[in-house]
């Protein structure tokens, strides 16, 4: 077997050194009743070629996003990732290293994390970022629990524009910890509605911008209302490229900002692995979940980086930790940082502008289709449209025309009564011809 270096001779010699007669002697502590001697009903080993064939066949049963006009977003966005990014993240020293617990021989990973934290803090307009969470949705849940620790209050108000998966994840995890999660009615453009719900029991309000319908909102007034009541404002973003064009959460008064960072450096991957971004104001740092990388010096006074403030973490604090997170999204953070370093501020702003321009073109083209209403007026790269009929049926019909039209809102939340709403995103990957093909096919189908 190609992954196992020991030869039968090695094994015999090693058993000799150990003083064991057979390998079974080394499993002597396993109760007899639990020793599985007959083989499992699973195939035996396979060569590289065979495995490659099976997986290539499975991959071929999928329609890749790049196979034609494609408009899905809803928290995962198709962007171009420079070849340099994928090359560097496959270097052995990054790919096959562990969490940097031995800083003297992990400065590569640690300096990358320090750069990553600085970039993420700058993007969100907040003071400190951690070294990543699993994804945006779990980062959102962790932010809500952090607000409880900070405020010692139990109530969290989730805006009706929050991605339904984020709301469900937060509800699942934070509810288990004893929080009251108040999820407002799903509404297309109702971020300001959270203000009326804030009271003296409120730990935090969670508002997404651009929201799940693509609506971009200025949350400054919400921040003021939250702060007046002693609550925190958590701002969620699922499309990190939007930071290049829109006012940052920090500028609008957010205390904690969380985001899905997949758009920068990471492929769609059918939903994972992705990368959660987590930032907050400096005074809250000791309540933050997750790993933090910090600057220090070595014994000769040279600058270096280490994981720090670990007294918040599970390996030191155990049941008193701020979170149970251990493994996070290190390699995805590396990809994020390399891509953002290649973009720079100049490139990110331009990329964001291209995305916005594509979405405006999409909104214009779809809005011109009789029977279609574009619901989202102020957007970044995603819009919600109302169709004359069921959105899921329309997506299936358009698939026959070779167009993947977007995500029916009812797939994210079947109970919202928005079966006729379709979410459509455009990025720099979207060709103008794709938009024309979509609009034409949609027009034809509606006319039928």
């Amino acid at each position: 077997m190609r992954y196992l270096p020991l030869t039968p001779d090695d094994r015999a010699q090693m058993l000799d050194v150990i003083g064991a007669a057979t390998i079974d002697d080394l499993f002597a502590d396993v109760p007899a009743a639990a020793r599985k001697s007959e083989p499992f009903d699973l195939p035996h080993h396979a060569g590289e070629l065979e495995v490659e064939r099976e997986l290539a066949n499975l991959a071929a049963m999928n329609r890749a996003a790049g196979a034609g006009p494609f408009f899905c977003g809803a928290g995962a966005y198709r962007h171009h990732v420079p070849a340099t990014v994928d090359h560097i993240i496959q270097r052995s020293e990054f790919l096959t290293s562990y969490t940097p617990y031995q800083p003297e021989i992990a400065q590569g990973t640690l300096q990358v994390l320090f750069e990553f934290q600085t970039q993420v803090a700058a993007l969100t307009g907040l003071d400190v970022a951690n070294a990543s969470m699993y994804d945006g949705s779990t980062a959102c849940a962790e932010a809500v629990m952090m607000a409880r620790r900070v405020t010692r209050r139990k109530k969290a108000i989730l805006s009706g524009g929050l991605h339904p998966h984020y709301a469900a994840t937060t509800q699942t995890i934070a509810h288990a910890e004893g929080m009251d999660i108040v999820r407002q009615t799903v509404a297309f453009d109702a971020e300001a509605a959270v203000i009326a719900a804030i009271d003296s029991e409120t730990a935090c309000v969670v508002v997404q911008t651009p929201n799940v319908f693509g609506v971009a909102t200025d949350v400054t007034a919400i921040a003021e209302a939250a702060h007046e009541a002693g609550a925190l404002l958590i701002v969620v973003t699922t499309e990190a490229v939007s930071y290049g064009l829109l006012k940052s959460p920090g500028e609008m008064g957010a205390d904690i900002a969380v985001a899905e960072g997949q758009s920068i450096g990471n492929a769609l991957n059918f939903g994972g692995p992705y990368i959660g971004l987590f930032t907050c104001r400096e005074k809250l740092v000791r309540q933050m979940p997750g790993r933090l990388c910090g600057e220090t010096v070595d014994a000769e006074g040279r600058r270096g980086f280490v994981l720090t403030l670990s007294t918040r973490e599970q390996h030191i604090r155990r049941d008193k930790a701020t979170s149970n997170i251990c493994t996070n999204s290190g390699l995805c953070a590396l990809a994020f940082t390399i891509h953002l370093t290649l973009l720079g501020e100049v490139g990110l702003r331009q990329l964001a502008a291209i995305n916005h321009a594509k979405a405006r073109r999409l909104a214009k083209a779809l809005g011109a289709v009789p029977g279609v209403e574009v619901l989202t007026k102020r957007f970044f790269n995603e819009i919600a449209i109302r169709l004359p009929g069921d959105a899921t049926d329309m997506v299936e019909a358009l698939l026959e025309d070779g167009v993947v039209a977007g995500v029916p809102f009812s797939r994210l939340d079947p109970d919202a009564g928005l079966d006729d709403v379709l979410l459509c995103a455009a990025t720099e990957m979207t060709l103008d011809e794709d938009i024309d093909a979509f609009a034409q096919a949609l027009s034809r189908r509606i006319g039928q």
């Binding site: 560097i88 031995q102 590569g108 934290q117 779990t138 251990c326």
Partner: protein, 526 residues
């Protein structure tokens, strides 16, 4: 043609030994460059991508448009490539040498897996694309589930947890939901003192109070203490097996029986599944829930701290409470149950957006198919054989924490043998860096004084293990011979010397700021 040797020493005896205090003039070290941060390179107006001209008109956004600068530097492509390649050279990696971190299972990461995960049909696949266009992805998830269930002897699996600790959370949420469904919410979770920190952290996260169970002198759960602490308010016990001392819990079946007798569930931390895969099925031990770290047992890369994946296998009793989503066979092929309504109403909720770590599923499945049932059994056998070999070779010089009987996949030593040398476990581990190896896991598990936990995994050759053992034996001899400076100052030869972690925690500098950078060390010439 012979090599040009004039003017440079070519024989070892011609080379001066490393002079203490020697420093290069610029901070470079041979192949290692002193690499500035991206923020210190004056790249504020640079970019390494060529994008088409865009209509920069954001007027429709009004006051939502960002006005102030973000503060992000850029680098051209060659500069970025060089920057990150230089940084990479400051990392240790499995591909460089044995990486004996106990409980972390740092095994070889096959590149076939990387290649498969990058097929457009997997990597360029949107999680919310119409189900009819993702049948191959769902089939892969279905096959992976079948393998995980078969290998563990468990009837159900929740694929979506994103790492081990997230899997623990999933398992405990299922347990909590099961108790609540019976109208009997319970309050306590029992955790052995040797447990990984994530176990008590997870239990507390779910709102349980944690009670510790004592350990016997031979490194196992103390049954008498367990019986004394079990009661009708106990929701679950969390036991790692093989445990963090590298030992199989001999009384595991009895532990499960006692746990079930009070109506509690048995959560098994599967971090060490690599030791028993293909030989022992957790389902036969009475386990109700167990997470499987795909980034340990099934070879997906650790990536400097993730991403991982932590699917959780579940017993019949817990299966109905598994979180959404999951794959089902329908009349028109495979489909996903994404909402916790109707037949899925008992599901406890959702662990994250979308469907889990697909990129890791592809890699893990490629690994399983490569090994097959026969190869996976050999994985466990070689992992255990390698650990016992290292234990046997080092036992004369170092003190094994549990000398009697075999260990499983990792060998645990304490620091008794260092007494009187003036060298600590930390010093010893740091000296190992100078010999070219990554240190073992130190000071964990907490139940063993000055613990050194060595896990070689099955992908080490005998030759590499011999090299590693000889390095440790030479260091042990040096420690006992009083060569204390070798340890106290270590590492000497790493990219950096020992780092001041206290300073980092006392005055946290977590982001780069124009004015606050620590000044570089003065040039030697000054």
């Amino acid at each position: 043609m012979t090599m040009q040797t004039v003017g440079r020493p070519t024989r070892p005896e011609d080379v001066q030994p490393l002079a203490t205090g020697f420093a290069s003039l610029t901070g470079g070290r041979g192949l290692l460059q002193d690499e500035a941060l991206i923020f210190e390179r004056d790249g504020w107006n640079k970019t390494g991508v060529d994008l088409p001209e865009a209509d920069l008109d954001g007027s429709d956004l009004g006051d939502l448009a960002r006005a102030a600068p973000i503060g992000l530097p850029g680098l051209s492509e060659p500069e970025a490539m060089r920057h990150y390649v230089r940084l990479s050279q400051k990392n240790h990696a499995i591909d460089l040498a044995l990486y004996p971190l106990g409980s972390c299972t740092m095994k070889h990461n096959p590149r076939l897996n990387e290649k498969m995960a990058r097929l457009a049909g997997f990597a360029d696949l949107h999680p919310m694309a119409p189900v009819s266009t993702v049948q191959g992805a769902l089939a892969l998830m279905d096959r992976l589930s079948h393998w995980l269930k078969t290998l563990t002897g468990m009837p159900a699996v929740a694929l979506s947890p994103k790492a081990g600790a997230h899997g623990e959370l999933c398992g405990l949420l299922a347990i909590r939901a099961a108790h609540e469904a019976k109208g009997d919410p319970r309050r306590r979770v029992l955790v052995p003192t040797s447990a990984h920190g994530t176990n008590p952290a997870t239990a507390a996260f779910v709102g349980y109070s944690v009670t510790e169970i004592a350990q016997t002198d031979d490194g196992r759960v103390d049954l008498a203490d367990l019986e004394a602490k079990l009661g009708p308010d106990v929701a679950a016990i969390m036991v790692t097996n093989p445990n963090t001392c590298g030992l199989f819990e001999r009384d595991i079946i009895e532990i499960a029986r006692l746990t079930h007798a009070v109506g509690a569930y048995f959560y098994c931390d599967g971090a060490n599944f690599n030791a028993i895969v293909g030989r022992v099925r957790p389902g036969d031990l009475g386990v109700d829930a167990m997470h499987i770290n795909l980034h340990k047992t099934f070879s997906t890369p650790h990536g400097g701290g993730g991403p991982g994946a932590g699917p959780v296998v579940l017993s019949e009793a817990l299966a109905p409470f598994a979180p959404a989503p999951w794959v089902v066979h329908g009349p028109e092929g495979l489909t996903l149950v994404e909402e916790t309504v109707g037949e899925a109403a008992q599901a406890f909720g959702r662990m994250s957006a979308f469907h889990g770590q697909m990129g890791m599923f592809v890699r893990a499945y490629a690994y399983m198919r490569s090994h097959g049932a026969d190869g996976l059994r050999q994985v466990a056998e070689d992992a255990v054989l390698n650990a016992n070999y290292i234990k046997a070779r080092l036992s004369g010089a170092m003190t094994p924490a549990f000398p009697d009987g075999p260990c499983m996949h990792e060998a645990l030593f304490d620091d008794t043998w260092l007494e009187g040398t003036g060298v600590t476990t930390l010093d010893f581990a740091k000296a190992l860096i100078d010999e070219g190896f990554h240190p073992m896991t130190m000071y964990f598990p907490l139940v063993v004084h000055g613990a050194m936990l060595i896990e070689p995994t099955e992908t080490e050759s005998k030759q590499e293990m011999d090299r590693f053992c000889e390095a440790l034996l030479a260091l042990a001899q040096a420690a006992k011979a009083g060569d204390v400076d070798r340890f106290k100052g270590a590492p000497y030869l790493a990219p950096l010397r020992r780092l001041d972690e206290t300073l980092a925690a006392r005055k946290p500098r977590l982001t780069w700021k124009p004015s606050s950078g620590v000044a570089p060390a003065p040039l030697a010439a000054e």
